[in-house]
């Protein structure tokens, strides 16, 4: 269906269309600002994430080596028994945060198990390292979720901007041009008609 199919070539409709296009153009400008801001936020998140997963993997490898050492030194039953002296009270809070209306989970560690002074020296270092990595993994997950959601919203915003810039606004312009042309044509016809009538009246007077 043509964009012109519903267009009424009247001055009132033209004024309405002009109002609409200025509103859409302003909306498009806002969306562009949102897009730029989201792109900036995304690049910040990516900067933070760059190489972080690899670093955590490296640290996990090292901690795993230490866990193996603890098991070799103490035996599996003793290691399991030692870990029982730690109360399992690791609690996190996931609250929603927003960047330009994009919600992402912000994770806060509410309470973590106390390991100081509770374990055999062979396990205590591993446990402390593991706890640090655990917090880093939570932090990484938060940034990854943030980046993922921002990227998703950025894609949507980009599509909206493109649709407005390339489809909606040009089609409105086309409608406006169509109405203006029609109105020009009508006013020219009116002028010609007036002139002709004016000529006929003048000839009769003569």
């Amino acid at each position: 269906m043509s964009v012109l199919s519903g267009a009424r070539p009247t001055k009132g409709y033209l004024i309405d269309m002009k109002k609409r296009i200025s509103f859409v153009e302003r909306g498009c400008e806002f969306l562009k600002l949102k897009r730029d801001h989201l792109a900036k936020e995304l690049s910040i998140s990516l900067e933070v994430l760059r190489g972080r997963r690899d670093r955590i993997n490296e640290r996990l490898k090292k901690v795993y080596e230490d866990v193996v050492t603890a098991y070799l030194a103490l035996g599996p039953l003793e290691v399991r028994s030692q870990t029982n002296s730690i109360k399992k009270n690791f609690e996190i809070d996931a609250l929603p945060k927003s960047v330009m209306g994009v919600l992402y989970p912000s994770i806060r560690v509410v309470s973590k198990p106390k390991i100081e002074g509770k374990l055999d020296p062979v396990i205590s270092t591993v446990a402390a390292q593991m706890m640090e990595i655990f917090e880093e993994i939570i932090n990484l997950a938060e940034f990854e979720a943030r980046a993922e959601r921002i990227a998703d919203e950025l894609g949507k915003t980009n599509r909206k901007v493109n649709a407005l810039e390339n489809i909606v606004i040009p089609s409105y312009r086309e409608v406006i041009k169509f109405i203006e042309d029609k109105l020009d044509e009508e006013s020219l016809e009116e002028l010609v008609r007036t002139k002709l009538i004016g000529g006929v009246i003048a000839r009769r007077r003569e």
Binding site: L72, P76, L77, S81, Q82, S85, K87, E116, V122
Partner: protein, 331 residues
């Protein structure tokens, strides 16, 4: 009974087995083989089998030993195992583990001092557990229960149990002849000193700069309270260890190189093994002979537990050998 010990070459072969399957195959050709027939055990199952075998061997050695020696060995080994089980129950109750889970981690043994493990396992809380110990030799632990509950910690109870252990073995130890007493003292004092040093070292890393409570150290022997305090307050580890001299500086050397506490434990066991073997060379009968045999059984058990777990997890042989004693002694 010494013939029951695995040959060092066999232990080395077990350590070098390419996988868990090969490990089980080699193990099935040893005296442990009859216990493995018809089953595909996990490393944890094997740990139980090694523990059971050790206890069985311990019982038969103690049965055949003269009264003074058997009294001492009973206290030295059985009570230690019983305390290990008690600690496991306490840890389980502390973190509110189901009783069946705790039960599965216990060393399968008869109680040494008329303790009923079932009754202790049935205790609902740590407080109930301490009450259940009221009629036993472990009753004094009630004195530190309040501190444990107040600060939500468990180590004072464990430390108290270690204290009771040391006190309890002193009486039968006194009945041994001076030469035998000297062997035990060398082993026991080195063991406790090294554990104290490890505890102090660990404290310095966890509570930087803070002075530890005296209860942290079970008993003070050759390593003074002052040295332990310095180490736990973060003094230069190298300087402290160098000032200790032999055998501590050698045993604790891995702390300086790679901060490896597991390797310190391995060095300690190697040292205990060498002391026991040395005393057996001097006198290959009576207490030194029996003691070195039990030390060997004990270390063999610990090594086999490590080897089984390492092989099940696919750990490299070099790494397994780094933390075990006997495979490294094979020619």
């Amino acid at each position: 009974m010494r013939a029951e010990l695995l040959k060092l070459e066999t232990i080395k072969a077990l350590a070098e087995a390419k996988d868990f399957e090969e490990f089980l195959k080699i193990l099935s050709e040893t005296p442990y083989g009859e216990k493995l027939s018809g089953m595909t055990p996990s490393a944890v199952d094997l740990e139980r089998i090694f523990n059971q075998t050790f206890i069985k061997r311990l019982e038969s050695v103690i049965e055949g030993a003269p009264k003074e020696i058997s009294d001492f060995l009973n206290a030295y080994y059985y009570m230690e195992l019983e305390i290990r089980n008690l600690k496991k129950i306490m840890r389980g109750k502390f973190s509110k583990m189901p009783s069946e889970w705790i039960d599965r981690s216990l060393i399968p043994m008869r109680p040494y001092l008329s303790i009923e493990f079932e009754k202790l396992l049935a205790a609902a809380t740590l407080g109930d557990l301490v009450v259940a110990l009221e009629t036993t030799i472990y009753a004094p632990v009630r004195e530190v229960l309040k501190i444990c509950e107040e600060y939500d910690i468990l180590w004072p109870l464990e430390s108290w149990l270690d204290n009771i252990y040391i006190n309890s073995i002193e009486v039968p130890l006194m009945r041994l002849i001076p030469e035998d007493k000297a062997i035990v003292k060398e082993v026991l004092q080195t063991r406790i000193d090294v554990e104290n040093l490890l505890a102090a070292y660990n404290w310095s890393r966890e509570f930087k700069g803070q002075t530890p409570p005296v209860e942290l150290f079970t008993r003070i022997y050759k390593v003074s309270q002052e040295t332990l305090r310095k180490l736990s307050e973060g003094a230069n580890t190298k300087e402290v260890l160098q000032g200790l001299g032999s055998p501590y500086s050698e045993i604790l050397a891995p702390l300086l190189k790679e901060e490896d506490t597991a390797l310190v434990r391995k060095n300690l066991l190697t040292y205990i093994y060498s002391v026991a073997e040395r005393s057996r060379i001097v006198k290959d009968f009576s207490f030194p002979c029996i003691f070195s045999l039990l030390v060997s059984f004990d270390i063999e058990k610990d090594d086999l537990v490590s080897l089984a777990w390492g092989k099940e997890q696919g750990v490299a042989p070099e790494k397994i050998m780094k933390y075990t004693v006997l495979p490294n002694l094979a020619k």
